[in-house]
Amino acid sequence: MQFNALTAHELHDKLVKKEISAVEITEAVFKRIDAVEEKVRSFVTQTRDKALETARAVDAKIGRGEEIGPLEGIPVVIKDNMCTEGILTTCSSKMLHNFVPPYSATVVEKLKQAGAVLIGKANLDEFAMGSSTENSRFFATRNPWDTERVPGGSSGGSAAAVAADETIYSLGSDTGGSIRQPASFCGVVGLKPTYGAVSRYGLIAFASSLDQIGPFAKDVRDCARVFSTIAGHDPKDSTSAEFEVPDYTSFLTGDVKGLRIGIPREYFVEGTDPGVKELIYNAINKFEELGAVCEETSLPHTEYALPVYYIIAPAEASSNLARYDGVRYGYRDESAEDIVTMFMRTRSEGFGTEVKRRIMLGTYALSSGYYDAYYLKALKVRTLIKQDFDRALEKFDVLISPTSPTPAFKYGEKAGDPMQMYLSDVFTISVNLAGIPGLTLPCGFVDGLPVGLQLMGRPFGEGTLFKAAYAFEQNTDFHLRKPNL
């Protein structure tokens, strides 16, 4: 077995037993990258020298007989919208093509403290806006299961790197499905945590009230380990919650007897691939077999989630992205003779089409005279959507649905039609609007393409999601299959 194909917990055990070294793991990962990166194209930046340096330090520590943590010496890839001190952080945008942050995001600091080996920064849809990673201004990332298909997005690079065994795990960010949809497309486990569970400090904002950082992993145990490491209150982020972070692996009992699972009927309507639907029903049957109680329920405001999202997210983005003006850092148009022209040309050229589309949508929604009709109304409907979940989750421990209506689609298939592209997030968006956690894990294949099952839970109820996901994983083998690259 190649070390790079193992999970973090498997590698940790081998490190502790001194069967391998951290340098060997890192080198195995680099060897894999050398072999497949040309086809997959997950990375915007690789940090090989620093990675080896970290790995050597971990080996020295093991050599001294010191105890190591669960992520110590294990390679990780971070989506290129999280700031890494001294390492290029681009958001896959021309606007930040040369931006080297003088500080690190809180999650990056936490991983550093945990001894993680950062091997590089992953490609994404520009500023995390997109569902296929086709909107990267640099290049498109490929789906390891079929390189003619997209890996999903916006965290496509993070998902593809894990699926292609170019890394052991990775971090992504999820504003409307940007972790779960690519995890589903690439056949890996992905978690969008409760809003406020993970610090956003250093995550380059797309939509502040929706953005959350979360892990991609090869199995549920790794996902729980990474989440245990990155979760927790951060005084630098006012929106991060104060809560006790448990060891989430303690929820991995495999026992779901009596677990109440709700099946929201609005997530099983027309437009979903029949093969996908069938796999979800299979999964529901599996849960019943394992002793869970599954029942239909309703989230009546589901149909409004997409329009509400496409008002709130662009509105926040239009303001968040105003700072990219060429004055202080990043791309600047040098030809302009005055400041206003410089602003306009810098932003016209620095941003891609989708980013500009959303900035314009958001600017419009916040404009004087339209605010009440759009933004304020959207906030009210958002509350209704949240109340749907509150009610459903009073009765049920977990809600279950497909992660995306289809498996990975082909390149260019939806690139020209924003509406079709937006619809691939139709099952994930509500979770961000409600601020609750959502986890996706592999539940089968349609035409050789992986399909993800989404589990949704109560705020700060990640433990329950891990419990359910782990039980399912223990009784299936979908997560063990590897793409043939």
Partner: protein, 483 residues
């Protein structure tokens, strides 16, 4: 008959709060410093950073709100005000829109001896912007412009008045009282020259008796109390001229040109920004407990109005003097400190209002400066020396002049220079005899009923004693001897 116009003015005052760190990060708020040295990723608005509200800023804003008799919000939030300008690193300013920290207050001013109440609409918190330095006249014409972000994120409160002000003079008095209150409260230095107190004005005129307001203009760039009054006086005349010529006042923003003494159009209403305010999703709403408000209320010091009343009531100071002294916290603190060392408040007040203010104005040194030469205790001692008859009022002025130079105590100066008043009748009698002998004409005049002549004789004795003779004693002796 010519139309009489009524002036309507509302002021927007910006005051920097003197917290140690900025409103949303840990960078220093210190004024000055080399460009871009008091900055961090947060106040620079670098990609990925988040603001965290400084609790001290909220406390100071509440304190200011209480001092201005406002109702403090129990639920308040921050909003984003979106506009592009290179001194604003995020291209939005974090401010407060529809739920400001304080509302519905007032302050009182004294106009021609009458008290007048000016309503305060609201007090809200916001972050300051950076400073642009143009290599040229303006950003439009400059070869290039440099930005200093030291000031970016320095906490501000904006205080908006009701349109209750009826003259440029009232506007100045309002601003002076505002400055005093904020200084007493200790939330701001209010140094107009350093920009820690700034003021914009909305002004319109309407024929007396008309209910609706006239079209207003907004005036900016008044950098002193005097400039505020001058700009408003100019604008009143300009608007009346426009109306008298049959024209209409245009709603616009105008800037005060100090050198030319005129206001100039900056931008029209059509060019006004749509700020696209919305709640800042990076900051959580503030729930302000009544207990916290009460705790802050307990820390409020004696405010100018209360202190003025105390001066009038307890010390019998004339209202005008009390108003002037309490108008400046520094001066008033100085006076209070002096009162610890003398029981003669009225005399001390006279010295403060007279010689001390004259010296402050001439020297430009503030009484709060550590090198201010005349300590409050010294001035009080000077008052006591006069009261005890140890020096005359005339000598006291010389001693005061000496105190300005060296900062010595008045007793030491009197001692060193031998200026002590001579009240010993024996010592004075000899001089009186001599003066009577040398001035027969005046003696004659006095005896013939010319009362004035005694003044000349007293003067001669004072001259001969270098002013040290007690004038009362001299007078008494002269009268006895010329009976």
């Amino acid at each position: 008959m010519a139309t009489q116009y009524e002036i309507v003015i509302g002021l927007e005052v910006h005051s920097e709060l003197k917290t140690n760190s900025k409103i949303f990060c840990c960078s220093s708020t210190e004024f000055g410093g080399d460009p871009n040295t008091h900055i961090c990723p947060v106040c620079l608005g670098l990609p990925g950073v988040l603001p965290v509200a400084n609790k001290k800023v909220v406390e100071f804003a509440i304190k200011a709100g209480l001092a201005l008799n406002c109702r403090i919000a129990e639920f308040s939030k921050f909003d984003r005000k979106n506009y592009y300008y290179p001194d604003l690193p995020k291209n939005y300013q974090i401010s407060q829109y529809d739920l400001p920290i304080a509302e519905h207050g007032y302050l009182d001013i004294t106009v021609d001896g009458q008290q007048k109440r000016i309503g305060i609409t609201r007090v809200h918190m916001e972050e300051d912007a950076g400073k642009l330095n143009h290599e040229g006249e303006s950003m439009a014409t400059a070869r290039y412009s440099l930005v200093d972000y030291n000031r970016t994120g320095v906490p501000l409160i904006e205080i908006v008045s009701e349109p209750d002000i009826r003259s440029p003079e009232e506007a100045r008095l309002y601003l002076e009282k505002m400055k005093a209150i904020l200084q007493y409260t200790g939330v701001s230095d209010c140094k107009m020259e350093e920009g820690s107190l700034r003021c914009d004005a909305n002004i319109s005129v309407r024929p007396v008796g008309q209910k609706e307001f006239g079209t207003r203009t907004e005036l900016k760039n008044m950098n002193s109390f005097r400039a505020l009054q001058k700009a408003l006086e100019y604008e009143v005349e300009r608007q009346i001229d426009v109306l008298e010529d049959g024209g209409r006042v245009i709603q616009e923003t105008r800037t005060w040109d100090e050198a030319r003494g005129i206001t100039l159009s900056m931008r029209s209403k059509e060019e006004a920004h749509d700020y696209r305010y919305f709640p800042d999703p990076d900051l959580v709403p503030m729930i302000i407990s009544p207990q916290w408000i009460e705790e802050i209320r307990q820390t409020l010091p004696e405010l100018p109005d209360a202190r003025r009343e105390r001066y009038i009531r307890d010390y019998g100071l004339p209202p005008y003097d009390a108003e002037v002294i309490t108008g400046s916290k520094e001066l008033s603190d100085y006076f209070d400190e002096g009162l610890k060392h003398t029981g003669n408040a009225k005399a001390l007040s006279n010295w403060v209002m007279g010689e001390l203010l004259k010296f402050i104005n001439a020297s430009g040194i503030s009484v709060a400066d550590s090198d201010f030469p005349i300590r409050p205790a010294s001035l009080a001692e000077l008052v006591n020396l006069i009261d005890r008859g140890e020096i005359s009022g005339k000598i006291a002025k010389d001693v005061f002049a000496e105190m300005q130079q060296k900062g010595d105590s008045p007793a030491a100066i009197v001692e060193a220079k031998g200026l002590k008043q001579i009240s010993d009748q024996g010592a004075i009698a000899a001089v009186v005899d001599e003066v009577i002998a040398n001035n027969p004409q005046s003696v004659e005049d006095f005896k013939n009923g010319k009362e004035k002549a005694i003044g000349f004789l007293v003067g001669q004795v004072m001259k001969a004693t270098k002013g040290q003779a007690n004038p009362g004693v001299v007078n008494q002796l002269l009268r006895e001897k010329l009976k």
